[in-house]
Amino acid sequence: MELDVGAALTGLAGGLIIGLAAALMLIANGRVAGCSGLYARALGLSREGAPRQGALAFMLGLPAGAALVAVVIGVESHFPTSLPLLVLAGLVVGFGTRLGSGCTSGHGVVGMARLSPRSLVATATFMATGIATATILRMTGWAA
C-alpha cells in the first residue's frame, strides 16, 4: 500500500475542522457534539438532551457546510446503488447508535478525547464489527 499524501493531508485538515466544531460545542454550550443523539433530539425522538432548537440547528448545519465545500472545492461521493441495503444499514445504524448512546462523533471523537471508558469501549466495538462487516462483504462479493 502506498500512502496517498494528498488524501492524508486533506483528511487531517478536515479532521481538525471537525475537532474545532466539537470543541466549540463543548466550550460554549457545555455539550457533546454527538450526531446521533442530536438528530434524535431534533426529530423529537429522544426525551433527554439538548434543546430542540439547537439540535435542529446543528443537524441542518451539516449539509449546509458540506454544500459550501461542494461549491467551493468540490466533493466526491460514491454511494452503493442497492436501496434495500441503504435502508437496512440506516435502520441498524439508527437503532444501534441510540442503544449504545453514541456514534463516531460522540464516542469516537468527543468521548475518546475525554478518555471516557464508555467511549473507548464503544469505539473499539464499532470499529471491530465495522471491520468484520466490511471484510465479510468483500469476501462474499455481496453489496460490492
Partner: protein, 145 residues
C-alpha cells in the same frame, strides 16, 4: 430573530463547521469509509488521519473545560456519564458498527451527504430515522427514555 437563542447559534456554527470538516476530509464518500474498514482489501487509511486531526483540538477543549465551572454560553455543563460499561453500550456499538460497515455511512456524514447525493443519502437517513423511532418505542416499552 428575537427567539433565536445564543446556544442555538453556537449549535448552528458547530454543525456548519462539522459538515465542512466532513466534506473536506472526504468522509462523506461512503466508498472511502468502507475502504478504511476493509483492512484486508485496498485499504484507505484516510479515516485514521481524520480521527487524529479531530482528537487533537478536542483533547485541548477537554483540558480547557476541566478548569472551568461553566461553559461560555450556557449556564452549566451537560455531560454524559463515562461509566458503566454494560451490555447495552456494547450491544448498541456492535450493531452500529455492522450498519456502518454495510455501507460506510455513520450519522454525521449521512446527513451531510444530503447536500451532495440527496437521493441515496435520503434513503439511508429514512432507515436511520426509523431506527431511532424503533429504539424510542422499545425504550418506552421498557420504561426508559
Amino acid at each position: 430573530m428575537g427567539s433565536v437563542k445564543a446556544p442555538t447559534i453556537v449549535s448552528a456554527v458547530s454543525g456548519i463547521l462539522f459538515g465542512t470538516g466532513l466534506a473536506v476530509s472526504g468522509m462523506i464518500d461512503p466508498a472511502r469509509v468502507r475502504a478504511f474498514l476493509d483492512v484486508g482489501g485496498a485499504w484507505d487509511p484516510t479515516l485514521a488521519f481524520v480521527m487524529g486531526g479531530a482528537l487533537f483540538p478536542m483533547a485541548l477543549a477537554w483540558m480547557f473545560v476541566g478548569r472551568r465551572s461553566r461553559p461560555l454560553v450556557e449556564s452549566h455543563f451537560h455531560l454524559p456519564p463515562t461509566r458503566p460499561i454494560d451490555l447495552r453500550l456494547i450491544g448498541g456499538a456492535a450493531l452500529f458498527g455492522i450498519g456502518w460497515g454495510l455501507v460506510g455511512l455513520c450519522p454525521g456524514p449521512a446527513v451531510a451527504a444530503l447536500a451532495v447525493h440527496p437521493g441515496p443519502a435520503l434513503v439511508f437517513c429514512s432507515g436511520m430515522i426509523a431506527g431511532f423511532a424503533l429504539f424510542r418505542r422499545a425504550a418506552d416499552g421498557a420504561g426508559r427514555s
